[in-house]
Structure formats: structure tokens, C-alpha cells
Amino acid sequence: MAEFRLDAMGEACPVPLLRAEKKMKELKVGDILIVEIDHSCAMKNVPEWARKMGHNVELEEIEEGHWEIIIEKTN
């Protein structure tokens, strides 16, 4: 049940998703990945991708224009 962080601040649209996808492969089931983003487009496509993969997803705006996507690896 480890928690990992991925700093994708300042990265434009496909990059946060691609990095999250890559990082997820290193995680074990039950681990948590927190992706930090400030690109509004990633706020849509990262959770959408993670939900489609069947993971548990949570999106939190921690300040204006700065989000954390919390993904629990379930499979």
C-alpha cells in the first residue's frame, strides 16, 4: 500500500497521461498514485483513462488551476 507521486506540473496535454500510464505499470495492486497537474485537459483525460482501466479515481483541486488526481491501482 505504497503511495507514489508524479509531478506533471507544467506539462501539456498528452504528456501527463502518458507518464501516468507508464508509472502505473510499476505499481502493485493496491498502491496509490497521485498525479499533480495544472493543465486542464489532463484533468479530463487522465481520470477518464484510469476509470476505463477499472481503477479507483479521485480528482481534487488543491488550489486554483492545480489538481491532484489520486488513482488506486485495482488490477
Binding site: 503511495e3 501539456a12 496535454c13 498528452p14 497521461l17 483525460n45 479521485e58 481534487e60 486554483e64 488513482i71
Partner: protein
């Protein structure tokens, strides 16, 4: 949307969450500024105010809906997601109906058909390829870049500088393309080639098929 009780986090946030400022005041100020500028523009020339209003409405919808032409073409390849692709196809269907409503009158009356009906040829493919590569690297097409500039994503401010530079460069050697390719390319208006009913319904059917294809792409390739 998420409360601290139900969070997936294993440990509580170490950094305190900064108190969010109330933005209603800013919103009202922006609406007031939009109205004032709209009235001023309307005083100069009425169509200017209409363009201003459409521009704002378009930007608002673009921002709220996360509508993105770049993602619509990039995501199917990159992630297999076609939700935005399907949104763009629906927009094309609506645009087809809307433009036809505007064009059918002048067309049947034998007048000049309104709209940008430009010659199609090899230059279209070259330009589309260059634009496609550029927009994926830049993280947005023209409207997406403008929308994200407004959101405050600084990378896009850099992008717009090179967008302008590239457009100037394009305008600079447009003459070369004009003489070599555009002048000899046909100006195709489908209703003239296929007749109005076939062009209109054919385009709708084709877009509908693309929609189904996109749906199939997303749910077969996970």
C-alpha cells in the same frame, strides 16, 4: 467533490490546502466588461458586437466542455479514447445542417454560395500534415491554444508567439503555393457535383458511420 473522509489517500496532505478565493466578483467584473465592450463595438458597427458575442460564447463552451480538436485526433491513436472524437463528429453533423440551411437558398437561386469554399489539392494535405504535427507538439490547435491562454497555462503563451511567427511565414510564401498548386486545383462544392440531396444526406450518413467507427474503436481497443 471529495471529502477528507472518503479519500483514497494513504496519508493526509502534508501541505495545507490553500484557502480558495471567492471568484464571483471577478466573474461579475468580466461580464460587465464584456457588456460594455459589446455596447461600444455595437456603436461602431452592429456586426462587430455580434462577432464579439459569438466569440465569447464559443470560448465559454470550448473551455467548459474540454472540447479539443487536437485531442479528437490524437487520443484515438494514443490512448484509444474517442469521446472527444465523437463530440467533434457531432459538431460536424450540426455544422453540416446549419451551413446547409444558410447555403441552400443562395444555391437554388443561383447566387454565390456563402462560406469558405476553397480549392482542394496537394497543398491541403501538406498543410494538414504540418498543422497536425504542430498542434500535437504544442498541445492545442488554434482555438485550444487561445482557450488555454485564457486559462493561464503559460506554455500556450509561448505557443501563440510561434503560432503567429508560423502564420507570418505561411503568408510570406503563400504566393508560391498559389502559383504552383492552388491555381491549378479544383474548387469543389459537393452539391454542384452530386446534387444537393445526395451531398447533404451523404455527408450526414458518412459522419454517422464515422461516429459508429469511433465507438467501435474505443470499446474494442481498450
Amino acid at each position: 467533490m471529495s471529502s477528507s473522509q472518503t479519500t483514497l489517500r494513504t496519508q493526509p496532505r502534508t501541505r495545507p490546502t490553500r484557502q480558495k478565493r471567492n471568484q464571483v466578483g471577478y466573474g461579475l467584473a468580466v461580464i460587465a466588461a464584456c457588456a460594455v465592450i459589446g455596447i461600444l463595438l455595437g456603436g461602431i458597427k452592429a456586426p462587430l458586437a455580434i462577432k464579439w458575442l459569438f466569440g465569447i460564447a464559443f470560448g465559454f463552451v470550448l473551455q467548459r466542455s474540454r472540447f479539443c480538436f487536437t485531442a479528437s485526433l490524437r487520443d484515438p491513436v494514443l490512448t484509444g479514447s474517442t469521446s472527444i472524437t465523437r463530440a467533434v463528429i457531432i459538431a460536424f453533423i450540426l455544422a453540416t445542417i446549419g451551413f446547409s440551411a444558410l447555403q441552400i437558398g443562395p444555391y437554388l437561386a443561383g447566387q454565390t454560395v456563402p462560406g469558405n469554399i476553397n480549392p482542394v489539392g496537394i497543398h491541403t494535405a501538406v498543410g494538414a500534415t504540418m498543422f497536425g504535427i504542430g498542434m500535437v507538439i504544442a498541445g492545442g490547435c488554434a482555438s485550444g491554444t487561445l482557450m488555454r491562454m485564457g486559462e493561464g497555462f503559460l506554455l500556450q503563451w509561448l505557443v501563440i508567439i510561434f503560432f503567429v511567427a508560423g502564420s507570418l511565414l505561411g503568408a510570406f510564401h503563400f504566393g508560391w503555393w498559389e502559383t504552383h498548386f492552388i491555381a491549378s486545383s479544383p474548387n469543389v462544392f459537393l452539391p454542384q457535383v452530386l446534387g444537393y440531396p445526395l451531398a447533404f444526406f451523404g455527408q450526414l450518413v458518412l459522419l454517422g458511420l464515422l461516429y459508429l467507427l469511433a465507438l467501435r474503436w474505443e470499446y474494442r481497443k481498450l
